[in-house]
């Protein structure tokens, strides 16, 4: 017992030292450290993946790989069908999903009356965004391929992907339109423009960078999707090599081709060839995504 001990009945060591106890500080730091490490895990996984793919596939990338058809021999095989198929799909999907998605976004944000039907549409769009992509494949396989008689063709696959990314584009368009100050719209109305004129000439130009960003991101998702077009009948053989405008022919796509490579029993296909295909696919996606991010940043700075 020290001489300074307080008399009985009074709490000891009353608030002379106001700094936090060391043990507590250590606990705080440890907590923060754990959170930070956990955040980095996901990124570490991603870096590992990229490194793994590059080291497996980079050697396989040469000109022949882009221009050859698939082959039973790993040394001769290429991704020509996948490349042309993905390009055609991208053009078709963009051509269909952009006007429809933006139009729906405009309707819901500018013209829709506030009633139960509108609210139902909104809830429905939110729910559609949560439907697994493979279910869109089932829709295409039954509705487009058989009931509408389009067969396992490019247009069936493109329709499946279009319906899949429509909710994403609608939501992105709505957000971009909502971010436009209402004074712009109202000012146009005050000058005598009709609501559509005000939307088309004043609101849309301001909202367009946001809309384009959302659309590009949605398209890049469509390019990477495998399940819906696989179920809708995408193939990887020479049969699928057609001109992009032949929408009623068999079709292929990069992700489907990669899936085929992975599924083959030979190790060369499973690692080298598949990895090379993945590098090509990720390069395409990365280009699209950085385009979207550049667009977004430029837009953010101007505002």
């Amino acid at each position: 017992m020290s001489a300074l001990s307080t008399p009985a009945g009074v709490a000891r060591g009353v608030a002379l030292d106001l700094s936090a106890p060391r043990a507590r500080l250590r606990r705080e730091r440890a907590f923060q450290g754990v959170l930070m490490t956990a955040t980095l895990v996901a990124l570490l996984v991603m870096v590992t993946l990229l490194f793994d793919v590059l080291s497996d596939g980079a050697a396989r990338l040469n000109q022949d790989f882009f221009t050859s058809y698939t082959s039973r021999r790993a040394a001769d095989t290429g991704i020509r069908t996948g490349l042309t198929g993905s390009l055609s799909l991208m053009v078709l999907v963009a051509g269909m999903s952009f006007p429809i998605g933006v139009g729906a976004g405009i309707y819901l944000e500018v013209f829709a009356p506030d009633n139960r039907f509108t609210r139902f549409m909104q809830v429905n769009i939110a729910n559609l965004a949560g439907v697994p992509s493979v279910v869109y494949g089932l829709l295409a396989a039954a509705m487009f391929v058989y009931i509408m008689g389009l067969g396992r063709t490019l247009i069936s696959g493109a329709l499946a992907l279009t319906l899949l990314i429509l909710p994403v584009i609608i939501v992105a368009s709505r957000e971009a339109i909502r971010a436009v100050p209402p004074s712009i719209f109202n000012g146009a109305l005050a000058l005598g423009a009709t609501p559509w004129q005000a939307t088309r000439k004043q609101v849309l130009p301001v909202a367009m960078p946001g809309i384009l960003t959302g659309t590009i991101l949605a398209l890049s998702r469509a390019v990477g999707e495998t399940a819906p077009i696989l179920v809708a009948g995408a193939v990887f053989s020479r049969r699928a090599d057609n001109e992009p405008w032949n929408i009623l022919e068999a079709f292929g796509a990069l992700p489907v081709q990669v899936y085929d490579f992975i599924k083959r029993p030979q190790a060369e296909f499973q690692t080298e060839v598949a990895a090379a295909g993945i590098i090509v696919m990720l390069t395409v996606l990365l280009t699209m995504n950085s385009g979207a991010i550049i667009l977004r940043n430029r837009y953010a700075r101007r505002r």
């Binding site: 956990a38 279910v135 559509w196």
Partner: protein
């Protein structure tokens, strides 16, 4: 929200907007309405197709057997010995992968959300958030490749080749977990950021440290958003197709052993479609029967998540 509403004038008597009696204006609005209605047509078409093709399946086999039998071999002739149509192995496969995925994604996703929302300086956030977006944008077939060629061999070295099959639920589940981390993290972070600063200040004022504030004040305050984030992520895990098709195998197995080969509902759909079963065959219709189940499960999860957000949202300000 109703920023652009003055199209509908407050009172029908004093309309300042031009009267929309122009036919061009009206026809454009109706075209836009049709575009918006396509989403409803899509939902109806999905339901129609699933029912149309799936119900034929239940016309030939009993729905009770479908839901209770313990083996799934819907191939060939319905009268043969081997033919079994119990969907439970597929459901258990899906659930096994989903549970493993959530065990990965919930702790990591919530930790990321807390770090990004409460600790990370603006510059670090500016790097980490886009990085998570990139992760969310990686095609799942690529993640499947990753599971099969990197994670599975690693697991077989850590445990033993005997206990971990080349195709296994564990590897697929872990990678599905990584896939849904961005979903958990970004939605939970939104929920945490929406908690007003007054609660943080009050907590510090009571003498709580930052970690205590996060665990005892912020998480409970943001609970509805966090729970709905987890439910949405669960829906994505259940619906995930390519990772499980590549890495989990094609053998429907009623098991909880994560090292064994399994098949999920989505995995079956891809496998059976790849087999090019002719339309109208029992195998073809079984794909849609599984599709109905998958659709119902994910749809229910979506609705629950939306309900939770709407009903339990703390209305600050």
């Amino acid at each position: 929200m109703p920023t652009l509403q003055p199209v509908v004038p407050p009172s029908p008597d004093v309309s300042l907007a031009p009267r929309s009696s122009r036919w061009g204006e009206r026809s454009i609005v109706s075209v836009l309405w049709v575009f918006a209605a396509i989403s409803i047509v899509t939902t109806l078409a999905i339901v129609f197709v699933l029912l149309e093709e799936g119900v034929k399946f239940f016309g030939q086999v009993s729905i009770v057997e479908f839901l209770t039998d313990t083996a799934w071999r819907p191939f060939g002739d319905a009268t043969s010995e081997a033919f079994r149509i119990g969907v439970l192995p597929l459901v258990s496969g899906t659930m096994l992968v989903t549970v493993i995925a959530l065990l990965v994604a919930v702790p990591l996703g919530l930790a990321s959300a807390a770090y990004l929302s409460e600790y990370a300086p603006a510059r670090v956030r500016g790097v980490l958030k886009p990085a998570l977006e990139v992760l969310a944008g990686i095609p799942t077939v690529v993640l499947g490749y990753f599971a099969l060629t990197l994670v599975t061999p690693a697991l077989r070295t850590i445990f033993s080749p005997e206990s971990i099959n080349i195709f296994n639920a564990l590897s697929a589940g872990l990678v599905v977990g990584v896939m849904i981390i961005p979903t958990v993290a970004s939605l939970s972070e939104d929920a945490l950021s929406a908690v007003p600063d007054g609660l943080r200040a009050a907590s510090y004022g009571m003498g709580a440290t930052k970690s205590v504030t996060i665990r005892r004040v912020l998480f409970p305050a943001a609970l509805s958003g966090i729970v709905s984030a987890i439910i949405l992520a669960m829906g994505r895990a259940i619906g995930e197709t390519m990772i499980v098709s590549v890495a989990a195998g094609n053998l429907p197995t009623l098991t909880i052993n994560p090292g064994s080969q399994i098949q999920t509902m989505t995995g079956y759909i891809v496998q059976a479609v790849g087999g090019e079963a002719p339309r109208g065959s029992l195998t073809y219709n079984s794909i849609f029967a599984v599709g109905i189940l998958l659709f119902l499960m994910t749809f229910a999860l979506n609705i629950i998540a939306n309900r939770i957000v709407r009903r339990f949202r703390e209305a600050y300000e």
